[in-house]
């Protein structure tokens, strides 16, 4: 297996105190990596560095084998941001239009969306089960539906790597599980490499193949099975906390 992302000795700081320090991480093609860490551990910052939105002060970062500064094939990466509903709810765009935005980078300047591209948009909507909402204004959908649409937008350019920053925040447990099922399916069937940032450690570890624990630097990177087996680590990163909540739910029933 070849690695899609290679991070070496990366350091990033907003102020004097580094948020990320001497971080090393490599993401293999075809893996489904769950990135966990407490608040302020630098998860979102790491994602920003990977996406080229933040320039690290030290270290190297390469994507698909080329240095980040020289990397230009952004269509190979799909991204769903932390604040999915950050856009203006009154924005006059339909679901179809929002998903087609995912193709704009590939279509290129001075070109228009063609029939072939339209079909891609419908395919992506079908993958997330939102094909019947194509003509609806995006602001009229529920949070969970909007999230699905944004994933369709990330998928429409047929990326090889999909990055999701806490995609299940504000989504109920049932929808979140369906959502993880969808991600697992994309990973297995389409061979899509996934990088998922989540606080929902208990649920997430059941779907991902690998787990990386982040707090300034990567403290653990291994299979989901090893992560669960290492009691100290999983306790530290909130695995058990989620378990207790589950027990409560069962008692309540």
């Amino acid at each position: 297996m070849s690695s899609i992302i290679e991070v070496n000795n990366l350091t990033y700081q907003y102020t004097d105190i580094p948020v990320l320090e001497n971080l090393n991480l490599s993401i293999e093609r075809g893996s489904f990596l769950g990135l966990v860490g407490p608040n302020g551990s630098g998860k979102s910052t790491l994602i920003k560095c990977i996406l080229g939105l933040a320039k690290p002060q030290a270290g190297t970062l390469s994507m698909f084998g080329s240095e980040i500064n020289r990397f230009s094939e952004w269509g190979r990466i799909g991204y769903v941001s932390q604040r999915a509903n950050r856009f203006n709810a009154g924005f006059p765009a339909t679901v179809f239009e929002v998903v087609s935005m995912g193709l704009f980078g590939q279509v290129g300047l001075f070109r228009f969306i063609k029939k072939k591209d339209r079909n891609k948009v419908y395919d992506a909507l079908q993958t997330v089960g939102m094909e019947n909402f194509a003509k609806q204004p995006i602001g009229k959908l529920s949070g969970g539906q909007q999230q699905r649409v944004l994933i369709a937008r990330a998928l429409v350019s047929e990326p090889e790597l999909l990055i999701l920053d806490e995609p299940t925040v504000g989504i109920d447990a049932v929808s979140a599980r369906k959502f993880y099922d969808l991600l697992g399916q994309l990973n297995r069937e389409k061979g899509l490499t996934l990088l998922l940032v989540s606080h929902d450690v208990g649920t997430m570890t059941k779907y991902v193949t690998d787990v990386a624990c982040l707090n300034k630097t990567i403290h653990f990177h291994g299979t989901a099975h090893d992560f669960e087996a290492d009691k100290n680590l999983s306790t530290l990163y909130g695995y058990d906390v989620q378990q207790i909540i589950h027990e409560h739910e069962e008692i309540a029933k």
């Binding site: 939105l53 230009s72 950050r86 203006n88 009154g90 935005m101 704009f104 980078g105 279509v107 228009f112």
Partner: protein, 199 residues
Amino acid sequence: MIEVFFQYDFLQNALIAGILIGFIAPMLGVFLVVKRMSLVADALSHITLTGIAFHLMLANVFAVLSAYDPIFMGMVFAVIGALIIEQLRKVYTHFKEMAIPIILSGGVGLAVIFISLADGFNTDLYAYLFGSVAAVGQADLNTIIIITIIVVTLLILFYKEWFFISFDEEQASISGIRVDGWSFCSLFLWRSSLRQRCA
């Protein structure tokens, strides 16, 4: 009533100018509204006044300049103002709306200084402050037509980029669209259509 429009040139000019501006202003305006920058037009028209005042002040010293239309200096100032607004929006990431009032009040302040330096409020400046659609001449109309063509062409060509940027700047930049360039380009367009308002 209608036949007077065929009799008088100035009425025809006013009608055509009105229709063209009424056509492109909302087309560009919608991008401003969704980006929550509705007041940028006001800020840029104030900085345009600063430019005009600056030109009139310079014209007092260098007589050569009187030959030129001060609106061009106004446009230069507006473009600079647009650039500064873009920069300020980047500096105050969480309070982006601050950029507009800074330029607006700063522009008016500077304009007042230039006006005083140019020995008071003269009639020239007054004409630029309060334009009249009935005063649109053939030259103005030509400018308006050219600008309308440029704006419509650019809008058709780059609709998808602007659409994406207005919706989600961060995502647009990730998908490889040069957000900086486009934001500036669109500000420049708003600016050019604004020039018509002055005309």
